[in-house]
Structures are given as C-alpha cells and as structure tokens.
C-alpha cells in the first residue's frame, strides 16, 4: 500500500485515539500496529509532525519504577482539525467505495 497515502490516514487514527485519552508513544504505536499493518517505526515521525503542526502537545510524567514517560495530548486545534478531517475522510471513502463498486459492476 502506498505509504504516503497511508500516512494521512494514520494521522487521523492517532488523533482519534488521543481524543479519548492522553497516551505515551509506545501505547499509540501498539494500538495502531494492532489494527493496521505498518512498521512500528513510522508512528513516531507522525507524532512529531502532528506536534510541529500544533495539533498535539507533550508532557513528561513520572512512572512508579521506571523512567519518566513522554505523554501526548491533543490540543484544541487538534480536536477541530480531527472533526473536520474525519468528516472529509468518511465522505471521501464513501465516494471511492461507490466508484469502485461501479467498476465491479462493469466487469460482470
């Protein structure tokens, strides 16, 4: 699958997870690789990009018996962007599905 194209969708998935609760990087990577077939390493660049765009912020939190963890939290801009892009994506996916099904019917 085209990685460039997948990346945009993954950004949306990350935002949807963080909308529910703050997570640390590893948690996000595990969550995504459980559902979608990606190399684990690709999640961190996405997190960094989202942070540089101001959609996420980070903070460190001490954990009992371990080094402090870096948590990611969604910003207000992140929430707004997520709602907008989610609607756009779902609409787009619906249209693509219609097109591909039309293609299917033509073959028969």
């Amino acid at each position: 699958m085209n990685t460039q194209y997948k990346k945009g969708v993954l950004e949306l998935c990350v935002l949807s997870l963080l909308k529910k609760h703050d997570c640390y990087g590893y948690e996000i990577s595990e969550y995504l690789s459980k559902h979608i077939d990606i190399a684990d390493g690709t999640v961190y660049p996405i997190l960094r990009k989202l942070k540089s765009e101001g959609l996420l912020t980070t903070y460190m939190q001490e954990e009992s018996g371990g080094p402090p963890r870096k948590y990611y939290s969604i910003t207000r801009l992140g929430r707004e962007t997520y709602e907008k892009e989610r609607a756009e994506y779902l609409d787009f996916a619906k249209r693509v599905e219609i097109l591909l099904e039309v293609d299917d019917n033509d073959k028969e």
Binding site: G25, D40, G41, T42, Y44, P45, R48
Partner: protein
C-alpha cells in the same frame, strides 16, 4: 540488528539529514525498545518490526521541509529561467509549424473551390477538361479536410503541452519553496475516446479519398490527353500546348 546498532544507525541518519532534536527522537525509540523487551521480545525482533533506520529518518525529514529549502530556491529559479528560455523557443517553433499547416490547409481549400467552380484567379490554375478538374477538386478538398484536422489536433497538442509545462514550472517552484504540489498534467491532449475514434476515422477516410482521387485524376488526364505526360499536352507550367 541489536538495540545499540539500531539506535546508532538511526542517530547517524538523523544527523546526516540535519534533523533537529535528534536526541529526543532517539530517546523515544529507546523507550520503544524498553517497553517491547519488557513484553518479552528480543532486540532483533523489535528492530525488524521498527523498520529500516534510514527510512525512518527520512520520514522525520518530511516533517520539517521548510527549514532547508531557502538555499535551494535560488538555484531552482536560475535553472528554471534557462529551461523557460529554451522551452519558449521550442514553443515558437511549434506555433510556426502550426501556422504553416494552417496556410497549407487554407490553400488546399482555395484550390478545391477554384477547381470545382472552374475559375482561375491570376491564371494560377492550369486549364484542363471538366472531369479531371472535378476529380482533382475532390482530391484537394479531401487534402483540406485532412490538413485542417491535423491543424486542430496540433493546436490542441500545443495547448496541452503548454499547460503541462506551466504546471511543471509551478510545481518546481512549489517544491523548492516547500509548498504543496499540484498534480501534473499529461502531455498529449486528453480527448474522449469517442472523439478520438471519430478524428481517426475522418483522417483515414480523407487520406484514402485524397490518394484515390489523385491517382484517378492522373489516370483520367492521361487517357483524355492521350499522353503520359499530360501536362505537356495541355500546355501547363509554361510549355506550349501540343495540338
């Protein structure tokens, strides 16, 4: 690849690509190793699942594109100026060729009209009997159709080529300044399949008609004049007519 190998390779790649906060990124991957190892995976397994360090580093690169583009932009602009200059000459040549084709087409039409009507402005059309005149008229009329279609197609081609070039120009500048690229445009004209089929059949028919009527006109002329070089017999091109 072990954990240390992976991390040092990643650090090298990040440094090579001039990516800011490399330490921060490395510590994130270090934590990833720590968590995964706590879950019972081996260092090798984790490294494989993470992917190629060079590829990961290049993914970080795309998130801060705008940092290093400023120096590149001047070179791109200078390069584009050169390309524009040559492309400009090329387009002028193409347009000149279009003009030649168009005048050829107009001339064919004029000759066909003269032949059908039997007029000869400035005595440019040599005299000939009725039938060869009509058959040659048909041949020039089909030549007109063929060349006119060629003109139209070629004009569409030039237009599309220019649009495609402008898009290339725009995208090259956009890439240099790090802004979004527009999809590139195909070089050849994008007609609908139906239109393509139609122009193809018109071209074939007019070509066949031109060839057939031209040969037929020659044959009729030879028969009517009784000489293989009928243009001598009819006194064309400054020869004295043989009576």
């Amino acid at each position: 690849m072990t954990k240390n190998e992976f991390l040092s390779k990643l650090a090298d790649e990040l440094k090579k690509k001039n990516i800011a906060d490399a330490d921060d990124i490395i510590s994130e991957y270090e934590q990833h190793f720590a968590f995964k190892m706590a879950d019972g995976y081996s260092e090798e397994e984790i490294a494989v699942k993470l992917g190629n360090p060079a590829l990961i580093a290049s993914q970080f690169e795309s998130s801060d594109v705008d940092k290093k583009s400023s120096g590149k932009k001047i070179t791109t602009v200078i390069g584009l100026c050169f390309i524009d200059f040559f492309a400009g000459i090329f387009f002028i040549l193409l347009i000149a060729w279009e003009a030649i084709m168009a005048s050829f087409s107009v001339c064919s039409a004029a000759i066909a009209v003269c032949l059908f009507s039997g007029t000869s402005p400035l005595s440019l059309i040599p005299s000939m009997p009725y039938w060869p005149r009509i058959v040659f008229g048909v041949s020039f009329a089909s030549l007109f159709v063929l060349s006119a279609e060629g003109c139209i197609y070629f004009a569409a081609f030039i237009r599309q080529l220019m649009r495609s070039y402008c898009r290339f120009h725009h995208n090259t500048l956009a890439a240099a300044s790090g802004s979004a690229l527009l999809p590139s445009i195909a070089i050849n004209p994008q007609f609908q399949a139906k239109f393509n089929r139609r122009i193809r059949s018109v071209a074939l028919i007019s070509l066949a008609l031109f060839a057939a009527s031209f040969v037929l006109g020659m044959a009729i002329s030879v028969i009517l004049s009784g000489a293989l070089e009928f243009w001598h017999a009819w006194g064309w091109f400054g020869y004295n007519a043989v009576k």
